[in-house]
Subunit: 379 residues, 2 copies
């Protein structure tokens, strides 16, 4: 099988190293952007070299971002090449167009590496769905934010200090926004829910709230109450309705999810006959994500793929609900009819809400000018 | 696809219920033993009715025990029928004969349901092995013993009391020996290691030590030291050598494995590029195990199976080592050169050993007449 790599960053280097040991797979061309980095004959600066090469059976896309990734994927599919991608943003935004174009051209569109890194999440979601309707999924789907939350919890340090340490260790990028504000998790949530529910869950239908404003005092309160804070993606299906949300949650400290350490991920599903299934592993990195891409390549080559089918019309509605922890500047108002208890400190108040739909709390923070509010849902 | 069920107990009833909803699968015959339970026309008391029925493509074996399960499996394979089994004892004891007979007759031999119930463990082990050499695996593979250990830890109750509660709830059998002494886990360990290492790991090469003699004082000591006790299967490969053991282990209380609750299982593997992968779920029960069997049936029908190949000659040797907790009657001697520390109570002593090979500690307890010794390895 002849393969082209789009990009030669961390992930594609992992793919390259793994495939080197597997003689039945040949990396024929690699698209790079910077002429100075052309260290191998197979490297090209021109995508059309790949698009027009009829010997290339499969294209791996790992350049990231929406454009030109989207155009490269569509062009590759139209050139009858299978596409394997690790790019969650582009998949979350153009999922149905990719699936449709792949179908029209009789090739495969593979996305294992978009979610959960080395965890065989997408494949197992699809496999479980052969028997069970998956009606709910959730999990820790971002290693950077889990690293930060774990360190804050274990070492009682403040956010900025831990973020700096994570950046130094290579667990966080210099601009960590996508990881700590929940954008990355939101893309993975949209992809996972679309696969699990058999219908398109648009990424912009998912509200998000991240961990940027969590502080030492929040962690202290959680510890005192035997709780651990994690950033979760959650999606639930009820009939043809669904709800999906990205937000911090509060877990009893003696649960599996509360004890997921460092930059690890855990992805969880519920099916009627199989019950709860949870998959734990490395959510990112050269070799884990490279491994997920190579698994997709092998599945295509050995004809062991599952078709992605969006044949259900799903409607967003209020399904997910819970009590919330809200830490809010004292001067701000919060609807008193939703408050179960409130503790006032000098500058801020901690509110525990009654059971409410997550949409309600998210529209409160989305519409509030003060961005320092921190919320977390009790599980 | 026409299917025969051997047995109609818990697991086969689960298979029956799941397949009822899937019109492409037809349960043509069911073998039962007790004529009084013949409630459907498709039921037969005579295995040869199934063996000689050329329309039957696949046989599900879930009668348990070694005989006549072994003979039924071999006869079914020789009659060119695929076999799907949930019977860990028979697989662990005759694994190579089944694999060989299936190969000779051009049919599939499928074992997902033998280990980890609804957890897609065997399939993922095989899938990971397409890329990585799996060099180690471990896990909690028995729900009954995990239920007992969890309850003893959470409620500070003694073994007998908790066992009785487990029996009442249906989590433990009236004779719980296979579950609490480690026989069940040993079968699953042999099966998992054989699949992971690509060579036969004979069940009788695996030493075992169970949880029958754990008591309240042990649990107290573990709690005081922030440890949680779980019954583990562990197997490690080093070159062409392997080591495998079933024994209680002591985990830091803030780990994923320490927080696996009730009767749940977790199965873990390590591969060079994928890193650590852990799979959590229901390790037994009508629907989870039924689900695993139906997944195997679908894989056979859709030609999505992986061949089981034992092409490596593996040699048992000392690889697994660790420090041990040993609670021993005061009157018994233990090799002083292996002792790191010792606390004497009135009737018993708690010994913490130096780092030693597990074979050493197991030969000590196997050769000792006093069967009340409890051991656990520090992880």
């Amino acid at each position: 099988m002849n393969i082209a790599l789009l990009g030669f960053g961390t992930v594609c280097k992992g793919v390259y190293d793994i495939l080197k040991e597997m003689p039945e797979y040949n990396i024929k061309k690699i698209l790079i952007r910077n002429p100075a980095k052309k260290t191998m004959d197979c490297m090209t600066l021109d995508f059309s070299d790949i698009e027009n090469d009829n010997d290339i059976d499969l294209v791996v896309e790992a350049i990231g971002g929406l454009h030109p990734a989207k155009e490269y994927i569509i062009s590759s599919l139209k050139a009858k090449k299978h596409v394997v991608t690790a790019n969650k943003a582009v998949v979350a935004n153009y999922f149905d167009e990719f699936v449709q174009t792949a179908k029209e051209n009789g090739v495969k569109f593979m996305i294992e590496a978009t979610t959960g890194g080395g965890i065989p999440w997408i494949k197992n979601l699809q496999r479980v769905s052969r028997i069970d309707e998956v009606t709910s999924l959730y999990g820790i789907m971002n290693g950077t934010s889990n690293f930060i939350l774990s360190a804050m919890n274990d070492e009682q340090k403040d956010f900025d200090e831990v973020l700096k340490a994570a950046q130094k260790l290579g667990y966080a990028e210099s601009d960590p926004s996508a990881d700590i504000d929940g954008d990355d998790v939101r893309n993975k949530c949209a992809i996972s829910a679309s696969i699990a529910f058999g219908g398109l869950v648009p990424v912009n239908s998912i509200s998000q709230s991240g961990i940027r404003y969590i502080n030492k005092n929040d962690i202290k309160w959680f510890n005192k109450n035997n709780l651990v804070c994690k950033l979760f993606a959650t999606a639930i299906k009820s009939g043809n309705n669904y709800d999906a949300i990205v937000e911090p949650v509060l877990l009893d400290k003696n649960t599996v999810e509360a004890n997921v350490p460092k930059n690890y991920n855990i992805t969880c599903l519920y099916g009627k006959t199989i019950g709860d299934v949870k998959l734990y592993g490395q959510g990112a990195g050269r070799f884990p994500t490279g491994n997920a891409i190579v698994q997709d390549i092998i599945d295509v080559n050995e004809n062991q793929t599952f078709d992605i089918v969006f044949n259900k019309e799903l409607t967003k509605s209020d399904v997910i609900e819970g009590k919330y922890y809200i830490r809010i500047p004292s001067k701000l108002n919060f609807d008193n009819s939703l408050v179960e208890s409130k503790i006032n400190s000098e500058n801020y108040a901690i509110i525990i809400t009654k059971e409410i739909y997550c949409s309600k709390i998210h529209s409160f923070i989305d519409n509030n000018k003060d961005k320092s509010i921190f919320i977390a849902r009790f599980i």
